[in-house]
Amino acid sequence: MSVMTEIDERVWGTRADGVSALERELARLRRSLGAHAKEHGVPVARASVLNLVVFATREIHARRAAATIDELATRHPSRAIVVVTDRERDGAPPELEMHCHLPIPGGAQQVSYEQILIRARGDADQRLVSAVIPLLLPDLPVFLWWTETPPLDAPYFDELLALADRLIVDSADFARPDRTLARLHAVARAGHGRYGLTDFNWTRITPWRELTSQFFDVPAWRPFLDNIAGIRVGFAVDADGREIHPSQALLFIGWLASRLGWIATGRLAPSEAGGLLFAMRRPDGQDVLVRVRPRFMRGLEEGDLSGLRIQAERLGQHAEFVVKRAEDSSHATTLVAIGGRGIAERNVPLGKPGVSDLLGEELTIARSDAIYEEALAALVALT
């Protein structure tokens, strides 16, 4: 028997048997909220802009996800469907249990959003999609947030993916990001743009991409962009250097390579202490030396970028463009040095986005992100 943990109704709401019972319960909750609001003179608007389907195999992940959605509910009113499956399923009879409630996010009574839990017990994988489909609000985009490494070979993953307009993953949680990213890329291509693929690690490097782009808005510095000779990217590791997660660093390199037309000339080669060293080729045939290095830095999550340095040579002039995370880890210093003379140093906020910030950002983008897919393709060419 599997461990039949009781569902905490204070967290997940009342149990309902079946989809129509659940819809009735939601309607009842909405009415009572409406009556309550009327007493207090606040109209309840049932605003929904999207469906969010969350998949987890551990209740702790599901709870964390639910807390994240709660935080976002005022920005992205939605119907959230949290699907939790059993990890231990020795012979338990397959069964789906449903719960629902209408949390009042942050006391913002004018917004109502709905949260539904589907708890699968035993081997109920093939039943999941049939429970999700009737619960989706019509005519609104479906975001599928997979909280761990997606089981790319499992039919139920395909079935849920077929409902989605966007698949959200976090490659920071992948056991082997280089392999899984490559396979996800293949899946995304096979989807022929039916859905967009996104990765929180891509969202995490947006500020770094932004700061890098800003250097080359300066007309005097722009020509160096075509003459990059080397680039170093640092990423955080834990104190004993065991957790090596270079996905953000690799995505950053993949992005530069795809924007600037660099091609892979070899495979990723390991260098000292879990780093990588390899060369790419610019469109003019010159080599770009790429060095990715792990670095211990207090206050950073494993894999987060710690700094980057772009070196370029043009007409005998040496230029360096540097973004360095500050000690407090929530700021960065950017610096430009031309011919050895430092100019334009500034301090900019980098922020330390939590999962809710990342998800919130992703939910504003309803289509696929071609720039990401191109960066991913460039990265895949290296593995």
Partner: protein, 508 residues
Amino acid sequence: VTAAPPLANPLRAGPRIARTPQPCALVIFGGTGDLAARKIVPALYNLALQRLLPAAFAVVGAARATLTDEEFRESLHADLVKYSRTKPINEDVWRSFAENVQYVSTKDGEGYETLRHTLANLDVLAGTNGNRLFYLATPPSAYGPIVDMLKEHHLTENVNARVVIEKPFGHDLSSAVELYEKLQGAFTEDEIFRIDHYLGKETVQNILVLRFANGIFEPIWNRQYVDHVQITVAESLGIEERGAYYEQAGTLRDIVQNHLLQLLALVAMEPPVAFDSKAVRDEKLKVLRAVRPIAEEDVETHVVRGQYGSGFIEGVPVRAYRDEDGVAKDSKTDTFVAVRAFIDNWRWEGTPFYLRTGKRLPKRTTEIAIQFRAAPHQVFSQDAAEGMEPNALVLRIQPDEGISLKFGAKVPVQGIRIRSVNMDFVYGASFMVDAPDAYETLILDALRGDATLFTRQDEVEQQWRFVDPIAKAWALGQGDLPIYPAGTWGPTEADLLIARDGRAWRKP
């Protein structure tokens, strides 16, 4: 020498990376003044917080006072602590921002020479590359002298220079033209950015999105389906400390000439071919030109003015306009204006636009209501349809920005009983993010050189052409100046203005 057109930046692609402006030096005239302290510097700091300022950016404060860079930065910091929309202040970001802030005293020609050297240095050392924006945050009386000095000291020659000015753009048509001629000494129309902060508001831009990104509204957006349009810009505030200015201006010049007519233009304009500065402003101008002028002798029948007396706002007694500081005891200044306007074009022929605005009205609210015609034939019995009203689409600009649609629905009882219900889209409930401050939006656009949300000279002139005859008629003593108690929706004459047409003001 002007540089060759800059190479495109291939890194700046995709939906995530915000468009940051080109490297630029921003010169704030009136750098020690109120506008700089309350709006401009807080907006710049908040842009820096969002990483929206370019990698090469410098601010030069210019004013008459003699200050060191350090003193100037300190005073800006003190103001920022008071006025920033985000708090507490991120000192790291501020320090880094402040390093690129300088001060130049421009009390004489020598000061302008210093300014020229400062900017030339920045072009090379900071990489601003001849890109400069002059922000005239001074009283309009100083615009002329500043522009003369800029020209005399070659500050706008062979560089990419632009200028931002604030309303009022003149006090009538001829002064607006005069001001324009002054500016033209150093700037072309493309280089002049006139701020109407209303246009920087999210919901005002949303008017264009609602109308032109949706297919279902445009077909009914005309005289055939629309009975009339009401635009209300209501303030519960009085004139605060602006007595002296208000005595000169009055609500007609302060609100009707710019904000109210701009809202009218956005609601009534034809679809532009693109969302760019030329296309949008061409269409706004076109509709402004179609607004039927109100001749001096017709002012009494089409326009109502009023002035607030004493009364109560939110339960608190407030004094009358004539008792405000800096106001004459027998002041004839208007603090309320209601206008019955028509647009003489194919789309709107015969559809009245009722506009009203005032100080010390019961609450602060801005809305545009599109009142549709009633259903052409009454199918339901008189009793059943008693609670029915024609459909209305209301665009609320502030507060609680949003859109609501009123339609009839059956009351759930046996038989038919109809009641009007509102379907509400609360902007804040669907996208509950802090909307950026209008000044942040507008300064960023000006730095980028995007003039879509700024008013063009021909619009300004057209707006004065509409307002001038009204002001003139009043100056000649035409029309009463009824006093309305503070905290009411204006004088009863305004109710009569619309009641004559068999209609009534909404209660926003």
